[in-house]
Symmetry: C2
Subunit: 254 residues, 2 copies
DNA sequence: AAAAAGTCTTGATACAAATCAAGCATAGCA
DNA sequence: TGCTATGCTTGATTTGTATCAAGACTTTTT
């Protein structure tokens, strides 16, 4: 399934800290209370509608959160990896999971905490509860932005934005990075069909982004930034954009 | 601008309670601490990026929350009315408003609380903070669903879904209701152009929904439900769907 | 009361993405 | 080593929505 160069290394748990570093209380809570579980590809973690008895988050690997309509269409609401929380809803009594969750990397390691235990901790520690509120607010803004992108960006721009964020996650400047999920899943998440994703890749070639299978080589990060971020209302505030801009010596953006 | 029959009555403040009744702590907090302000149409309430010094919510009228991209496109993220909160972000220190907010009804009455005061209250009352968390979670789910709808529903289905929710807001069964905002704003919110909205109206005629200007007459609510909800992952759980189904004697949807 | 401006609708055309259908790799397996 | 299944890409065609342009109403202005 995955090429040799993409064989997944086991990331040490500390990597998740990179993503949760803005929320030390949550990080500490997860570190001390979680139970680690290993899953194989395609394993369902939980189902939309089930009672949310557990709070899940990703230690290593990739998980997709998706919803199904009665007429058989699927929407990939989020692609989650190290440090991402999968079930905010589990923070509340009598709630149900609001998506399906499935492992989509060869293997994944997930952290899990019984929801009742987590709720008890939150009741006792107002500071941690506050950090969760902020994190939820952050995720909500991300979803709002995805909505905007679907409405105002072209397919190629949305792909470009995803690659930028990937660049940031893999902590690289303009070098070779790898698309970690199958194309048809990524296509769905970006609101397009697999064929359109394929054609969008070719468009990105014109601005110095060469995608070959799962391999992505970026010649000029600035032209990617220019191509994508002019159509985003978060331009200037986007942390991904800022970091990549810092990497580049000749970034023309503000 | 608005026809005679749509002249806006002043809704007593209690109406907002209908929408906030699930969160009595928040309702009580708003009732006792807010300061009422009246605005005219097109008045900006706050701007995307400004420091979030105030917490706003709608007592009466309609407000649009929108974002602008550098290349000049606008996305209407939400259309808010009685009981809706406009600036969740104001709950956190050093935050900025993440959208523009503009009054879009002839007049609007907004409630406002200084952010510092609200934050102090939340620090002292964990129960109210928890209700805010739940409310934010609820709003996040709504945004996620909008994302799904944009991706999987046709223009006509999205309009149909909006009309259903409007039906619910105006607490009516299948009778005549009124579209309370301008068509081009509604079109943007539903991810389409004004012309497409106009053509979608005609499609809805085939299933017994007659839209004439701002007036909407619904012959058979069941066929609207059937037309819209088969393409929604929330089918069966959606509170709007459930209520309208209860109104109808012969609703075939479970 | 006429003119001007705004909103909504309708018609003709253009275009981006979906769909349908092959073809081409690569991986897994007999 | 070939066979088959799967994922990805490419090509031809269709479709839904955007765009461009005009016309029909309303409301506002003068």
């Amino acid at each position: 399934m995955l090429h040799e160069h993409q064989t997944e290394q086991h990331f040490p748990f500390e990597d998740a800290q990179t993503l949760l570093r803005a929320y030390p209380g949550i990080y500490e809570l997860l570190r001390t209370h979680m139970d680690e579980r290993r899953f194989q590809k395609d394993h369902p973690v939980f189902f939309h509608g089930d009672a949310a008895h557990s709070f899940w988050y990703v230690v290593q690997g990739w998980v997709k959160l998706a919803r199904q309509t009665p007429d058989g269409k699927e929407t990939v609401v989020a692609l989650c990896t190290e440090g991402d929380l999968l079930s905010d809803c589990a923070l509340f009594e009598n709630s149900n999971y609001n998506t399906n969750a499935n492992v989509i990397s060869e293997t994944a390691i997930l952290g899990v905490i019984p929801a009742v235990q987590l709720r008890r901790i939150l009741n006792e520690h107002a500071d941690i509860a506050k950090q969760f509120m902020q994190l939820m607010q952050h995720n909500a803004q991300r979803t709002q932005l995805n909505f905007e992108h679907l409405q105002t960006m072209s397919a190629a721009q949305r792909l470009g934005c995803f690659i930028m964020r990937l660049c940031d996650r893999q902590n690289k400047g303009p070098e070779t990075i790898y698309i970690p999920v199958e194309k048809h899943i990524l296509a769905n998440h970006l609101g397009m069909k697999a064929e359109t994703l394929s054609r969008s890749q070719q468009q990105l070639r014109d601005i110095g982004v060469y995608i070959n299978g799962n391999e992505v080589r970026i010649d000029k990060i600035e032209s990617l930034l220019n191509f994508v971020c002019v159509s985003c209302s978060d331009q200037g505030q986007c942390t991904v954009e800022q970091k990549l801009c810092a990497h580049s010596s000749s970034c023309k953006m503000r």
